[in-house]
Structure formats: structure tokens, C-alpha cells
Symmetry: C2
Subunit: 256 residues, 2 copies
Amino acid sequence: MSRGAPRSVTSRVLAILGAFSAERVTLGVSEISRHTGLPLTTAHRLVGELVRWGALERDDAGRYHVGLRLWEVGSLAPRGLGLRETALPFMEDLYEITHQNVQLAVLDGAEVVYVERISGPRAVSVITRPGSRLPLHATGVGQVLLAYADRDLQERVLSGPLRRFTGNTVTDAGELRRVLAAVRRDGVAMCDGQVETFSLSVAAPVYGPADTVVAALSVVVPAEGTDPRTIVPPVRASARGISRALGWAGHRSTHR
Amino acid sequence: MSRGAPRSVTSRVLAILGAFSAERVTLGVSEISRHTGLPLTTAHRLVGELVRWGALERDDAGRYHVGLRLWEVGSLAPRGLGLRETALPFMEDLYEITHQNVQLAVLDGAEVVYVERISGPRAVSVITRPGSRLPLHATGVGQVLLAYADRDLQERVLSGPLRRFTGNTVTDAGELRRVLAAVRRDGVAMCDGQVETFSLSVAAPVYGPADTVVAALSVVVPAEGTDPRTIVPPVRASARGISRALGWAGHRSTHR
């Protein structure tokens, strides 16, 4: 969008929708104009059409947010499908490198849902299967998804009971807060024996085309005899590969 | 859309997005053309632009579904906000009529989340508060939300353990299946003493502008001395009132 204003009306409408992000949940018309490169009058007219349809809503302060109707239409996306198809070749490569469990998970409510797993005879046993669910605080993928989730969900998880699976499980809200901050700083979660004592997982965020975290990728390895730092680079590289294949174009700056 | 093809490019793009629904999760271009009234060539061109942006995705059979990127943008909607503001006056009217607990709830994962409640000194006590959560199978609002949820979620809940709160709680999958079918047939759930023995709830679906169920409205009354059938008409009327105020235009036919 810094490459100049979009040309076709369709691309202008889509550029307006794309101006919203987790960091920019509400926008004024002048901000929309700035983020899209559209003239203020054009932005004003298109925003009006989007509001009439319900794609955007205007709040009392005169700012705009994504509307209920667009949320409804978006919720029709068979999310796991395209994600799994795109992720599978990258997950196979990661399995070839590590010969350990490679997992892909998404957020659903306040839980992790595993949508895909590749494993083999030499891999450490794990309790998860595609479709199975775990709480967010105790797994690598869960800590990644929680670290990038909206504040409401974070506070809800932090204020709730944090179930203890092993002596290593993070069950203290203050400690979990520090873990999540470290995940955001490093772009990776290292979760050592927090679900089962004999395994550890290294997880990284997968970004979608709108630059929000849409999934988490992890490798689960035996806790004994593995230096998790050797797993970090391939997991991060594969997660970025999946993100690129999904249409992610790198991080957008918050202020432009 | 039966009023002829939409005129502006923006309204054409939005009409294509609006052609998708819970009953029409995937569409071919000719179906999109039929549902929107757009000429086939126009539909083809606009669908192409929507696919390039990620608003739609094409499957192996050449049919289209809502894409990951639109799901991402849609998930930025501060859903509870507009819903609560719109619903409150209707909920106040319903409270004036019943003087009992009036509740509004939405689906989150496999649970009910209460987003608003109006109560008074004469109302029966309830265990819920705004922000609190309950499983889907045991409450009126939960049975409504589950009845209209996607099949995956229904099967997940039906196959999981169904927690018993009281002797009346539906804990048998076969019985819950029949309850959900009755909710879809009648447009109302009557949940008698399934969470606490001394109260019953009557719940009805709230529809959004895209004709999917976005929330459930209920009145909780004392189980003793109340004929739930007298509560059904006002609950249904208020739920329809909220739906209309949200932009719902009545049920769209599945085949047009």
C-alpha cells in the first residue's frame, strides 16, 4: 500500500478492510485514507458503503471498526482446510530434518486445537492427535497463540485457574505473563516438560495475509539429550515459510 | 438481491461476499452469478480479484469459499459491543414484561458466554454473570446456539462427556440430538431445571445481517408456578426485534 493507492474499486474496498489489524482495531477516516493511500473523499464514500452493508460499524466517537456482518461472513471460512493444505509440505520438510513430532495448532475459544500432526517411529510419544484440545498455558503452541491473542483472552486465561500437568507447568499468573512477553520478544516458545516430563516443545507463530497470528507450529522432542536451541531455527524458518505461502508479506509497521 | 443486480462496484463486491452463508459455504461462479444477479463475466472478474486478495479461496473442485484473510479481518470485529448496544433496549422491554432475568449470550469455542444480563429484586437467582461461561448442552441459550452451530461443533459436543448439573440435565447424546432438532423446528429452547432445579429458561435465536445465528436471548424464570409457554412469545418477539435492529432482513431461502 506504500506502493501508491490501489487502482480498481475492488482493490480499494479490500485495501480499506486490510487497513484494520490487531494493532488497529478502530480507525478514523483520515487514518484509513493515510493507510490505504486513497484520497479522503474516496475513503469517505467507500467507508459509507461499507457501513451501510455492515462490513464496518461506526462507534460513538466517529471511528470505525469491523462490523458484525463481516465477522459473520468471515466465520464461514473453512479455516483449517487451506491452512493445513498450505502447511503440510513445510511440515514434511521439518519432519525430515528432525524426525520428531511436527504439530500445527490453532486457537479456538480459550484452547489449542491441533489441526495436523506428522510423526514417525523414532518420534517421542505425545498425547495430542489432530482434533484434540489442550489449555493454552501449558503447551508451546498454546503459549505462542496466547502471546499474540487479544488482551481480553489473555486476561481471562491469566485470571482463571492454570491447571498443573507436571511440576514444570506454569501455574502462576505472574510467571505466565513473563513467559508470554518472552514469546513476543523472541518469536518462539520453549516449553520444557510442562505437559509430560519426558518431552519438550519448540513453537513459533504462523502469520496470515493480514499479519495476525493464525496458527502455531511446533516440534516436540525428548526432553533428555536434546538442546532445544538447535530446534529453534528450523521451526522458526518453517513457520515463516508457511506464513509466506499463506500470503503473509512480512510485518506491517504499526505507525506509518 | 432479487431486486436486480447491485449497481456500484462496492455493492457488487459485497453482494458476492453476502452470497455465502451457513447453508452455502462453497459456491461456483455460476451460482454466485445467480445469487447476486451479476452477469457471469462480471462475477468471474470480481471473484478473481477477491481470490487474489485472499477474501475468497478456490478449492480443488473449482468452487469458492471464504478465505483465511477475510476470516482474519472479520475476527477483528468487537462483536459483543454492537450486539449489546443494539440488544439492550429490547432486553429492557422484555424485563418490563417478565420481571425475570433476561440474558444475552454468544458462542465461544464449545461454550456459552453471557454478554449481558438484566435482573431485578423479584427475579429468580441465577448462577450466571456477564462474562461467565457454561457448557452448551445444559442451558437454553446453549441449546439454541448449538442447534444452529456448524456440524463439526455439534458432533464434537455430542461425542464428548455431557456434564450432569441436575437430574434433569440432558446427558445422553441421542436425547440431545432430539432436543436440538426440536429447537430448529420450533425456533425456541425450553430448558427446565437442567442447570439448577428451581429455574427454567426459554431461549430464542438472534440473527445477524448475514442470516446466521449470532446470539441467543433467554428469560430465566422460577420452575414452580410458571408455564413456560407463556414466556415463549415475548422471548421470540424480542429476539426477532434484536435481529431486525442488527440488520437481519428475514430468512433467506436456501434455493433461489
